[in-house]
Subunit: 207 residues, 2 copies
């Protein structure tokens, strides 16, 4: 790999991420990507094997660090505050890392939120497997922490409530810059994050 500038492979990934997020996986062609990245048409086949492998790599490149950060945040909270965390602390570890990848935060990718939404709505079974690999260990880990925090809840309740929380987060990410009335746009990202954590925590504590 001869590094001069971002390198062909990285440049393809960056451009593909933007285009996929904006237009969807199917309406973006390899031609669109390679033209926008100013690389040769054949470069995608050479570096990734084909369009699908490129898609998978685009997703994993963003999902992996977010989910890693979630686990790190939970581990750290348990180390600092003890094994029996408050619901708010657990959900902050889950929600904050995702939001920090959104535009508005310095390291946020403009495309991350939309890309993430597309990934979840994507019907291809290969993408579903990718999601399963990424999320199953994560969900198990957070479920354990949540059961410790709310020992009166059944495992099923924790599971479904985590699903609802995930849905609220995901839909918020996917639509946070659309369908917002003028009077609500002044709510900034940190406020929205707080609102979401408060909402989900209260939901978990229901009954």
């Amino acid at each position: 790999m001869n590094e001069a500038g971002p390198g062909t492979k990285t440049r393809i990934l960056d451009v593909a991420e933007d285009l996929f997020a904006e237009q969807g996986l199917d309406r973006v062609s390899i031609r669109d990507i390679t033209e926008a990245a100013a690389v040769n048409l054949a470069a995608v086949s050479y570096h990734f094997g084909g369009k699908f492998e490129l898609i998978a790599e685009v997703f994993e490149r963003r999902l992996r660090p977010v989910n890693d950060a979630r686990l790190v945040a939970l581990d750290r909270a348990e180390k600092e505050l003890g094994l029996k965390l408050k619901v708010e602390e657990i959900l902050t570890a889950f929600i904050q890392p995702a939001i920090e990848c959104c535009p508005g935060h310095e390291k946020g990718s403009k495309a991350f939120a939309k890309l993430f939404g597309r990934c979840l709505a994507e019907p291809r079974p290969e993408i579903e497997n990718l999601l399963r690999r990424q999320f199953e260990p994560l969900v198990e880990r957070f479920e354990k922490a949540l059961i410790r925090a709310l020992p009166h809840l059944s495992r099923a309740d924790v599971f479904w409530r985590l699903k609802f929380t995930f849905g609220a987060l995901h839909h918020w990410m996917l639509t946070k810059d659309r369908f917002i009335p003028a009077w609500a746009v002044k709510t900034d990202l940190d406020q929205q994050t707080e609102k979401l954590i408060a909402f989900a925590s209260a939901g978990f504590k229901a009954q």
Copy 2:
């Protein structure tokens, strides 16, 4: 219109709904639809104008009755129980009609949940406008009822919490038959509905 059997137009809509829900809008061609519906290739152009108009009709045919039912349910609850409803009652009017279109209920369309998810993740601006038309008056109506139920909340809080609720519902619909561990599948549809309403109601009542 000479009605013998479901009629060409309806048959196209039914088949398109299934295929779109299962495979996504872009990977289903007019050829796939007309072959599966056993009608001529040119029938889509003749009856709808083109692929996009078919897509819009497929979505609206399902969304309109659900959103109408939501408004009817809210009106009825206010007539029966008085203007100041409980949060649970308002959210039931919002959530129940959507769930009754899901498989498991007698009149439920097998494809509705997935179709609905696709529709929300769809990037085309025309679909976004369709969603706006469908949801803006609905959201306004429910916001008013929720502000009456929770007068201490700011309008912004009600707005964001309704968005979170919508996200929980939508993600649940999109993934309720995927990513479910074996031990959780025994939770039936009505139980899941109750859990969602309880979760969201508690979220609304936070603080």
